[in-house]
Symmetry: C2
Subunit: 413 residues, 2 copies
């Protein structure tokens, strides 16, 4: 706790700022690209309606975006209603392609994704627990090189987004702590940029934050402005969307709900504290209660649990009910604090959800006050295990969307 | 938990919107008024510098604000530097006056506050615990009438802001639960509007949310965009400022940190659950540990505790250390989840802070991960017990600031 830090952070947001007219154009370009990116091809008149801008402004913006290679117009897919079919405006995926990387506890994944969400290629390989950051980065750089080589010749690589299962400083991709990867003080952003041979910074974010972003933009939470994504891997992470925007905190560390104290008589956590939410509701608790040796982890553990639960094994069902209860109590805490509309369960909670659901709802109702509890639903994610990888692509593409005219950079591959 | 609610909330934030030029002017008017309201009189050239707008735009905006009666220009207070003194631009407090109301567990307060933060009059009276909402509203309406009568003849009453120690729905000021006031399902916004004889809605907000707003805009957290305000009254409430904006959740219920589970073996809470943060770190815990009968509450309790602590009474000091420890552990949870730069303690934690400080810091360091813990400071509030009352005024004035041209309404008093 450091007073000088606060002084340093002051004033950035303190003086009310005016908006000049040139910022308006960038904002409106962004609104058009984002609409096409998220919702797919539309006619000019639909674009006029959804953005609230007039026809001549829309025509002008589409002209600039076409010149930038981000957008193209083509014939209508099918004539609809009377009159001539209106030409459809769509993104050019190759106009802005991003490299998306996910570093999870048990696997790493890489994908190349074009504007509009077009996935060129995607690959996921297992990651041995205990692998160092340098080793993981080397594996990822190799996979990335292959995927970039495989892109069409006219693809423009515009950025890199990375999701990692750890505490992440957004400004430079530094990871002070990733307890479940066994990493501490890793300059992940720099290491990846160097290994990939890129001069631009790579955008590194917490895996659960990216899961939240993905489920909000393209998943079960599409259009739900207040949602929480909970990622169950070795630990528990939370990503928060508040009023349609990622809630990251002062440095990007927000959402470390796995390390909130929920049971002072609980188990020792990898973070050094006792009775954290993840020691009571996480993977280790599940293995312990189900009587499975702690050497069985990750997908191996979840497959075993699923098989036994499907066979009706009582000890396994009891274990699931108990971690579901703690999971629900912790969700109740988050509902009280954030007042979300939706809590989305990802990671290993996703495949186990049918067995957890009842206990989770009961625990959450017990923990949450009625007023916020009444308007919060809990559900399994819509994007499955790839949510953080999709979120990493969205993070990198959001840079292109924010400033479409400023994004273009020649592909070095 | 209700799926239809989520469907109802969709789409409001989903379609990216363009910004038309007429919105720009309202935004820039707001920026000028807010700057003058928060930072006091400045010259036109300073206003040009802080808002980032050019001289002719500033002149034009000041002209409109002067016509609206919100701003006036006068001679410089003192000539500074060479050349002619630049005339100073300042707010006209009587151009927009708000009524500010605070409904706490042990007292109610009312103030009349003009644009720029000028307090015309302020009064606080004790509130007996157990008083019904109707009784409290009657008391407040009487006080309000007197204060409005006392305003200068040219004062324009533009709105009413209310802070209440309970869960508050922002849209209509409905209070589903105020456990420490003993209220349930109170249509507080409507009751107050009716009792005050106003047709416009009154803005009702949670007391801790308003404490956060006040400390961020005018207190110890001025210019700190990520802060949490913690109010200790009979219970514990939290108000969150994230990235310079109040974080309210889907319905305004966010920040109910007092009802997060922190100790399953703890005490029964007024909300019906066991081991909530406020049962371990709140007023009742303090009285219990200090051996003071539960009939002694509020200011009476705090005065007794302070007197004994100043006398070095060991049992009292131990009680303070124990609730300080729990307070710190809960603050650690909030640091992990929100990654704030500053945690501000208000309510009865404010006068007790010198005796709590050491245990609070220790508990927070234990509970928080190092990365977010390193950049979070904890301090007593800068505005003392009036923070929520000041926040209620800021809330009502913010409506004027958001749309200076649309605000004016004749005073009915």
């Amino acid at each position: 706790m450091n007073r000088t830090q606060i002084t340093a952070g002051r004033d950035a947001h303190h003086r009310p700022k005016g908006v000049a007219a040139d910022e308006l154009r960038r904002h409106n370009l962004a609104a058009v690209v984002e609409s096409l990116h998220l919702h797919g091809p539309v006619s000019r008149s639909e674009l006029t309606a959804t953005t609230g801008l007039n026809r001549s402004t829309i025509a002008d913006l589409i002209g600039e975006l076409t010149n930038l290679g981000l957008v193209e117009e083509g014939p209508a897919v099918a004539p609809s209603g009377p009159g001539r079919p209106s030409p459809m405006v769509r993104t050019r995926p190759q106009g802005a392609v991003v490299l998306s990387i996910e570093l999870s506890v048990d696997s790493v994944a890489v994908a190349t994704v074009g504007l509009g969400g077009y996935v060129y290629e995607q690959v996921r390989v297992p990651r041995p627990r205990g692998e160092s950051a340098a080793e993981t980065v080397e594996v990822v750089a190799g996979l990335s090189g292959e995927l970039i080589e495989g892109l069409p010749a006219d693809a423009i690589l515009t950025g890199v987004g990375v999701g990692v299962a750890g505490v992440t400083r957004r400004s430079d991709g530094f990871v002070p702590l990733a307890p479940n990867l066994g990493w501490r003080n890793v300059a992940l952003g720099e290491m990846l940029a160097s290994a990939l041979g890129l001069s631009d910074p790579v955008l590194v974010a917490n895996e659960a934050d990216l899961g939240a972003l993905a489920e909000y933009r393209r998943g079960v939470g599409a259009g739900v402005p207040h949602l929480i994504y909970i990622s169950g891997e070795a630990g528990i992470g939370a990503g928060i969307i508040h009023d349609g925007k990622p809630m990251l905190g002062a440095a990007g560390y927000a959402g470390e709900a796995g390390h909130t104290l929920i049971n002072p008589d609980g188990h020792l956590c990898r973070c050094g504290a006792t009775g954290c939410w993840e020691t009571e509701a996480g993977e280790a608790a599940l293995a312990r209660l189900a009587g499975i040796p702690s050497s069985v982890t990750g997908l191996g553990l979840i497959d075993t649990i699923l098989a036994r639960a499907n066979d009706g094994d009582q000890k396994t069902l009891d274990a699931l009910a108990e971690i579901g209860r703690w999971l629900g109590l912790g969700i109740g805490n988050l509902i009280n604090v954030f007042n979300p509309q939706l809590v989305v369960l990802g990671g290993f909670y996703h495949p186990l959800f049918p067995f957890l659901e009842k206990a989770v709802f009961k625990g959450a109702r017990l923990g949450a006050l009625d007023a916020p509890g009444d308007i919060a639903d809990i559900t399994a994610g819509g994007l499955g295990p790839d949510a953080p990888l999709i979120g990493a692509a969205e993070l990198a593409i959001s840079e292109v969307i924010a400033d479409p005219a400023g994004h273009t950079r020649a592909r070095s591959g």
